[in-house]
């Protein structure tokens, strides 16, 4: 039995396909349309899911949507009623899309997919909870979901067991930890619903001492946090419940300055504000989790929602709360909810026992060597072919060791916002100039942003001070841990200013060639760690097809791309029409 899950119309639309309870395909629409965080109906992602199983929509038994649109619309109307007449601008800009699109989900599914079967709708935060719990290794777990907003809920907790989830309590809009983080992200001049991770990366540059950081005390004035982690915000500091900008003038006054202009200088004040925000986020999360543990008396924890991507906070959870095990799915934001609704339909509504645990994020499209060769030949690309995987691995390791920047395009594309070793750019972490080289050649990132390391799971404890046993979310780059002091100077390119690293651990069973490559690099350099950053240019989604990968290489300074069994050297190919740098933006 096939079940299709759909998530769309807010940000990061996606589709996921279950076959008898097993996730067989999942992808975000942005990878196909090449529009970052594309929110449109995920027709391309659905097409991919169906084609990957060689089926048509007629063979899909059920379709599920990741939230209740009418309930969400009720909240939107409530905002306008409460905030009249200040909400006029957003009323005019948002109402047409609700009338024409967001309230017509059923009609769209029928029309665009030619689907005549049943469509289920589940609550947004239930989809978050299901997207993590129902594919987790736990039979029983406490559940916390925290994001910007779903229908009304912004934070919820509950208990899940077997194939059922009970969400007990909630915090309702407009009070939202996710929207607080987004507001400060906007205030600091970064794009909302996109660059929250930049604020997280900026925070260690600020003063992380609660007594000394004055912005911590200022921000505490805008949020009332109770002992059980529940909170409400003073809405006078925000405008997101009626306006198209998030911080109010009062917030600017409180933080002693105007909204930072994008690309302008990041000052110590900005860094201290980012640090204050991160400290408050962690404070709320840890209080909530302690309360959740007291209520559920369960040692296993599941987290869902956009705030679950705060890997700095995630890495501290097991050390600061009574929980003993943690699991987060690689795509914990709204995009991941397509898996949530599909799993909930199959396991909970249809009452099938759970039979699947998500152990890799490789759920997207792949391309055979013959498809890659066809692309290369038809575009007159100069390339070399490897006889076997061993040769490919040893050559790549040597190129990385020689400080080349290498694109690694192998197998199925990753599910979620992180490149995890099939659409990655890899380079040498031992070279202290590599961060600068990568920024100069490809990424053009802000200087304060660190690059992430990837290490084989069996080597991780040698180099990183991880929780033990190493939590599985580390496989998806969802946990930040300290780099052990003796190694910090040896891997400077992946050690952040506070001595931490947002590592990815990899097990051979997940991705043998990637694992072998890291080990081979270790043989050459003495350190089995690589820099792993996403294969894209700034402002574009991660590459999906050979065309995207080749275009990305030719428009940037990536030296080589390993595409299937083929090695492509940038210098051997003409740039001309493939200049992707011209479209780079935030």
């Amino acid at each position: 039995m096939y079940v299709l899950g759909i998530s769309c119309y807010y940000h990061d639309s996606s589709a996921a396909l279950l076959k008898d309870g097993v996730i067989v395909a999942a992808a975000e629409e942005e990878r196909f349309t090449r529009k970052k965080h594309d929110a449109s109906f995920p027709l391309n992602a659905i097409r991919y899911c169906l084609e990957s199983q060689h089926i048509t929509i007629n063979e899909v038994a059920f379709v599920g949507f990741y939230e209740k649109p009418f309930l969400k619309f009720e909240r939107i109307l409530s905002q306008h009623l409460e905030m009249f007449p200040f909400s006029f601008k957003t009323f005019v800009s948002s109402l047409p899309s609700w009338i024409n699109q967001k309230l017509r989900v059923m009609k769209t599914i029928r029309k665009k997919l030619q689907y005549q079967g049943n469509v289920f709708f589940i609550h947004h935060h239930l989809a978050h909870a299901a997207s993590s719990f129902l594919v987790s290794p736990f039979d029983k777990a406490a559940v916390l979901t925290v994001d910007g907003v779903g229908e009304w809920t912004t934070t919820s907790y509950g208990l899940a067991e077997g194939n059922e989830i009970h969400l007990m309590k909630e915090i309702k809009f407009p009070h939202s930890l996710g929207l607080l983080y987004s507001t400060i992200t906007g205030y600091l001049g970064f794009s909302v619903n996109n660059s929250e991770y930049k604020v997280m990366g900026l925070s260690p540059y600020g003063n992380m001492n609660k007594t000394e950081n004055k912005y911590y005390h200022q921000l505490k004035k805008i949020i009332d946090i109770k002992d059980d982690g529940s909170y409400r915000m003073d809405m006078g500091y925000f405008t997101y419940h009626y306006g198209d900008k998030m911080p109010s003038r009062r917030l600017c006054k409180l933080l002693e300055g105007k909204i930072r202009k994008p690309e302008s200088e990041v000052t110590q004040r900005h860094k201290d504000i980012a640090a204050a925000l991160q400290m408050i986020t962690e404070e709320v999360l840890f209080k909530m989790l302690k309360h959740l543990h007291a209520v559920t008396k369960c040692d296993n924890l599941i987290i869902g929602g956009g705030v679950a991507l705060n890997s700095v906070a995630n890495g501290k959870i097991l050390r600061n709360t009574p929980f003993k095990k943690i699991w987060i799915q690689p795509n914990a934001t709204d995009g991941g909810n397509s898996i949530g609704v599909a799993s909930y339909i199959y396991h909970t509504i249809l009452n099938h026992p759970r039979n699947f645990t998500l152990t890799t994020a490789y759920l997207g499209p792949s391309f055979t060597n013959s498809e890659i060769k066809n692309f290369l030949d038809s575009n007159k690309v100069t390339y070399a072919a490897f006889a076997d995987e061993k040769e490919l691995v040893s050559t790549t390791a040597k190129l990385i060791y020689e400080n080349n920047v290498v694109g690694w395009f192998q197998g199925r594309m990753e599910w979620g916002p992180r490149a995890l070793g099939t659409r990655s750019i890899l380079s040498n972490p031992c070279n202290k100039k590599m961060q600068e080289i990568l920024n100069q050649k490809v990424k053009h990132r802000e200087k304060f942003r660190p690059f992430a390391p990837v290490v084989c799971e069996d080597d991780a404890l040698t180099y990183f001070d991880c929780d033990q046993p190493i939590p599985e979310p580390t496989d998806y780059m969802l946990m930040v841990y300290p780099v052990k002091k003796e190694w910090r100077k040896k891997i400077p390119a992946v050690t952040h200013v506070d001595g931490s690293g947002r590592l990815q651990t990899i097990r051979r069973i997940q991705n043998p060639s990637y694992y072998d490559l890291i080990k081979e690099f270790g043989t050459l350099s003495g350190v089995p760690i690589l820099i792993n950053t996403s294969f894209n240019i700034r402002g574009e989604p991660i590459v999906c097809t050979p065309h995207d990968a080749y275009k990305c290489m030719m428009g940037t300074g990536i030296d080589y791309v390993m595409m299937g069994k083929y090695l492509i050297k940038r210098e051997e190919n003409p740039k001309d029409k493939w200049d992707s740098e011209t479209v780079a933006k935030d």
Binding site: K68, V92, I165
Partner: protein, 83 residues
């Protein structure tokens, strides 16, 4: 001939742009009417009776802001509903 085609093309483009602006203007006027009459009147009446649509206030008196949600497995028919 080419110049005439180009002229007609640019006229067509201009007309299309003008049409889009008219549509946007009419839409805004209609939405303004809906906003003032529908939203405005309801909001006005609600305020007279002290009704709030969003709970915005914090309180030092309460010990917790958690409220009951109680979402759990329901009958299948409930999942067909969009609310």
């Amino acid at each position: 001939m080419t110049a005439a085609k180009l002229f007609l093309k640019s006229v067509g483009k201009g007309m299309k742009g003008f049409g889009e602006k008219i549509t946007a203007f009419v839409n805004t006027m209609l939405l303004l009417l809906v906003y003032l009459v529908g939203v405005g009147l309801t909001s006005f009446v609600a305020r007279i009776f002290g009704k709030h649509f969003l709970e915005r206030k914090t309180s030092k008196k309460v010990n917790s802001y958690w409220s009951d949600l109680n979402i759990k497995k329901q009958e299948r028919e409930k999942y067909y509903k969009q609310f």
